[in-house]
């Protein structure tokens, strides 16, 4: 059968944004994760779930170039359309990618923010890093982004030490999204927050993801977060992906014993 006889839908022709091939990482003799394959398309939200030590954080570090793989590779399609093996990027290219086309929202805001720098400075840093040299314009963009993450403009000169946990996470999101990245990594972004604060943050993330068509890789052990935010889910155990698929399918019809255990362990109020 020729390809013209069975035309592929247009959206499927869209090249993937991020591809991991047989990603493996050992810490000495200990396994971090083994032979993980994944493909992420623009606008897609992928949740990686599993308990502590399952390798999900290692995988996130490998994908985001924070950690070098023992074997396997990660490919990324740049804004110019060229797909690159991330291990071949120069340090300058890697850093440019990290602060323009990518974002990283961390569980602990103090790792993702400059705690002694004002909210405006935190949001403006990426703009200045890519050459922004007009104070008024940088500040206006910072205020604009604080508004999008529901932080009052009059907090622009306060530093995040005076912010609540939920506000810090929202500031982290603004700081990351100000350069309009296409791919955002999130590591337990709602971890440790009160339930009501979590709900507000999840709603915000949901609407920003839809508004900007972000591709997201989110690591979480909270299946409710995965269900609310993600299109697809990968379940990890002992460094391997044991089950993956549509989020609602994996959660409503789990196949693997471990996934069934995870799903049945969720507390329902």
């Amino acid at each position: 059968m020729t390809s013209s006889a069975m035309p592929r839908p247009k959206a499927d022709d869209e090249a993937p944004l991020l591809v991991a091939e047989k990603l493996t990482r050992f810490y000495g003799a200990r396994l971090g994760c083994r032979e993980v394959d994944l493909t992420l398309h623009p606008g897609e939200v992928l949740a990686i779930v599993g308990e502590s030590g399952s390798g999900k954080s290692t995988l996130l570090s490998l994908l985001s170039t924070e950690l070098a793989a023992s074997s396997g590779r990660v490919l990324y399609r740049q804004r110019d359309g060229v797909t690159r093996d991330l291990a071949t990027l120069s340090e300058a290219e890697r850093r440019l990618l990290l602060r323009t086309d990518w974002g990283f929202v961390r569980q602990h805001a103090e790792q993702g923010l400059r705690m002694a720098v004002s909210a405006g400075g935190n949001v403006g840093e990426r703009l200045m890093a890519v050459g922004g040299r007009h104070y008024g314009a940088i500040r206006q963009q910072a205020i604009d982004w604080l508004g999008r993450v529901e932080i009052e403009a009059d907090r622009v000169d306060d530093d995040p030490r005076s912010f609540s946990g939920g506000m810090r996470q929202r500031l982290q999101i603004a700081r990351n999204l100000v350069t309009r990245p296409r791919l955002v990594f999130m590591d337990e972004p709602t971890g440790g927050l009160d339930v009501s604060v979590q709900a507000r943050l999840l709603d915000l993330i949901r609407s920003l993801v839809a508004q900007f068509g972000l591709a997201v890789v989110i690591v979480t052990h909270d299946l409710a977060v995965a269900r609310l935010l993600s299109h697809r889910i990968m379940v990890m155990k002992s460094g391997r992906v044991i089950e993956e698929g549509l989020t609602d399918q994996v959660l409503d019809d789990p196949r693997e014993p471990y996934t069934q255990l995870l799903v049945s362990s969720v507390l329902v109020p």
Partner: protein
């Protein structure tokens, strides 16, 4: 019929293996086959536990299919839900298959009006137009306007069900799956849903539903597929 079916279910089977119950295997259905044409409403019949909901969920891709094919027309293509990749399935849901579930899965903090409008927004309809359509549907379903801007989490069962129905019917997918859409509705609102189904049929959509209420079933269904005979 001459027209290609909207949906063709071919010898599908489903069972659950409960690993936490020492690998207990629960057969659900086997050998299910039927088709659905445009403009037709088919009811799945049979007692509770016969697997009616499971069949709807398999067609929507919410449950996996162990054997057989579920072919859904998408333009000139016939997509097999049983084997479709997740991305393909998501696009199929957005463009071809709508689903009104029995219960509303509440999204925290999102207003009822926006819950209803969301499928249109995903299609790229302008927010104002989408909200206007959502408001019109909620009006028809007698949901008081004072509730529109509240998140449905605190609504009664009947109010949530009407939000759910509106969200399912607002989309323009040609195939609509209905799981007890009138279960917790009063007679007046049941009548509205019956009208909505008739309008979808007139517009050439195909509907596949589970109707617990015999009166509603009689009012909307062109034929009944008895699931009992497929029980595994």
């Amino acid at each position: 019929m001459d027209a290609a079916p909207l949906l063709s279910v071919e010898a599908i089977a489903k069972s659950f293996t409960l690993h936490l119950q020492h690998g207990l295997r629960l057969p659900v259905v086997a050998g299910v086959s039927f088709t659905l044409q445009p403009g037709e409403c088919v009811a799945l019949g049979g007692p509770s536990g016969a697997g009616k909901s499971s069949i709807l969920k398999m067609i929507y891709g919410n449950y996996r299919t162990d054997a057989g094919h579920i072919r859904v027309a998408d333009g000139t293509e016939q997509v097999d839900v049983a084997t479709a990749a997740p991305r393909r399935m998501l696009r199929l849901r957005q463009q071809r298959i709508g689903y009104v579930s029995q219960f509303l899965r509440v999204i925290p903090r999102v207003a009822a009006l926006d819950v209803v409008a969301e499928p249109l927004l995903a299609e790229g309809v302008a927010p104002e137009a989408a909200r206007a359509r959502a408001g019109a549907l909620l009006t028809r379903l007698n949901l008081p306007e004072r509730l529109w801007l509240l998140p449905p989490a605190t609504f009664s069962g009947g109010e949530q069900q009407r939000v759910n129905v509106a969200r399912g019917f607002i989309g323009r997918q040609p195939l609509l799956l209905l799981d007890e859409p009138t279960a917790s509705l009063d007679a007046a609102n049941r009548a509205v849903v019956i009208d909505l189904i008739a309008e979808k049929k007139a517009a050439g959509c195909g509907l596949l539903g589970i109707f617990h209420d015999a009166e509603t079933r009689a009012a909307v269904a062109d034929r009944v597929v008895d699931v009992t005979r497929f029980s595994a």
